[in-house]
Symmetry: C2
């Protein structure tokens, strides 16, 4: 791979550039971004070697599409028009069904690979890009059979070279499960942050009384609204389902407290302690 | 201080022993615990030098009471009976009003100091004790004026020697604010863990799709039910208030999604991003 184009040079795209460069020291990295300041930062940080436009995409071996998911579905057909027959275009968004639908009947469908790397931080933009973000992380690939065999092979080698575990899923199943293990966490965190901020006008009090437990629970409330609003929109039905179940469980907890049923609360917490075993693998 | 007694040699009591020992190399540390295996572990880990009983408390310079808050209010009068006139007894529980009420008219009230160190992890037991847990952490002290001046002085020196920031609060205010910045986080985390576990019977799926964001948000769901059930019970009214506001905010978020009001969702998240500034100080 010689020419790699990153569309959206933020945390996710920028970190891919950093990691891929390790294994492809002679590759040239180009950045495309609607925000020219991001491109300048990406140049300064050596995430990319030059700025580019869609007209240059015909020279691309690899295009990584790492922009908010609402813009992603608008841009992907234009990108597929602009590339050559041998270019691999992969998107890395947090929803997979809408983009798979959009490209479904595109003449260049076989140039496209739908992925979701389970990696990131609560920060965004090129300055948030970090080395080895993807090491030992999972990448979910959807509808792999719809991508040309040679391009699949190229992508899989790239992921395994940067240390990722590969998992295959149907886009439907991806969007359903990811609502539970990622999208809901963001809402729970944002609303927890909101509840505390609303109450504690005097922030000095929060600051002094809050410990690492609180910080951990509201960490995701620092996330970018521009990235997350379209994710919730595209995955509305699944997210609403998780949110209803979460509210139901919280209401049940409240009712146990109201009727002073602390035995039930104890066993509720004890059953959930089981999360330890699940988390062991991901921390 | 020569003789220091830790009642409840878990994460909190054990970590105090480790930190205080640095500044008092000649002090002897004694452990009292209803679980003899904890005492054995504490001896092995050199948290304590010997096991002890309430009868020995007459020799204590300092007693740290670090047991679940429901047992704390039952034990504190007995402890105050057992000590000498110059002993300082401090409790470190997560609720402050109930224990302050219990000791209110005790003849040894001036030997007692009500504190809440804002420090800990999601783990418990003597093996969870760690060095420097308290460095740069806040300790909240309630009703300081009710403790004998000499003993106040002793306690404040001890806290500042191990690097803690001291804050004074009324027990009422403590219990109200801590419900927001600590107790509610635990419920939100436990119920998030429950929601995901219930849904994802096939845990392999969770494990592979869950990232560090999810891990961070459900970290507190590993916490000890034996410690947390009595905290919720003792702080019932405040915790219920926070829980109602949290459920209200989540329901509002759900309704915004149902009516596709993504502009409102965006601005809701943007307003809460402000949590960044608040968290800067505690991470």
């Amino acid at each position: 791979m010689k020419n790699i184009y990153i569309i959206g040079v933020g945390l996710i795209g920028g970190s891919f550039a950093l990691d891929i460069r390790q294994n492809h020291p002679n590759a040239k990295f180009f950045g495309i971004d609607h925000d020219d300041l991001h491109l300048d930062d990406a140049l300064d940080l050596k995430l990319i070697d030059a700025k580019a436009t869609y007209e240059d995409l015909k020279n691309a071996d690899l295009v990584i599409l790492s922009i908010p998911v609402d813009v992603g579905i608008l841009e992907v057909p234009k990108i597929l028009e602009a590339i050559s027959d041998t270019t691999l275009v992969m998107d890395v968004g947090s929803t997979k069904l809408p983009i798979c639908k959009i490209v479904e009947n595109h003449p260049r469908r076989r140039n496209f690979l739908a992925t979701h790397p389970i990696a990131g931080t609560e920060f965004s933009g090129p300055k948030a890009a970090i080395h080895k973000l993807y090491k030992n992380k999972t990448i979910i690939i959807c509808e792999v059979e719809k991508t040309a065999f040679k391009l699949q092979e190229k992508a899989l080698k790239l992921f395994s070279d940067i240390g990722m575990r590969i998992r295959y899923m149907h886009p439907d199943a991806h969007d359903k499960h990811i609502a539970y293990v990622s999208h809901l966490s963001h809402i729970s965190s944002f609303m927890l942050g909101k509840t505390v901020i609303e109450k504690e006008k005097n922030e000095r009090d929060i600051f002094d009384m809050a410990g690492s437990g609180f910080a951990s629970t509201v960490r995701l409330a620092k996330s970018s609204p521009a990235m997350w609003t379209p994710i919730f929109k595209q995955n509305k039905d699944n997210v609403l389902e998780t949110l209803e179940e979460y509210i139901h469980n919280l209401t049940h907890f409240k009712e146990m407290m109201q009727r002073d049923d602390y035995e039930a609360i104890f066993s509720e917490m004890q059953n959930t302690n089981h999360i330890k075993d699940i988390l062991n693998g991901i921390e």
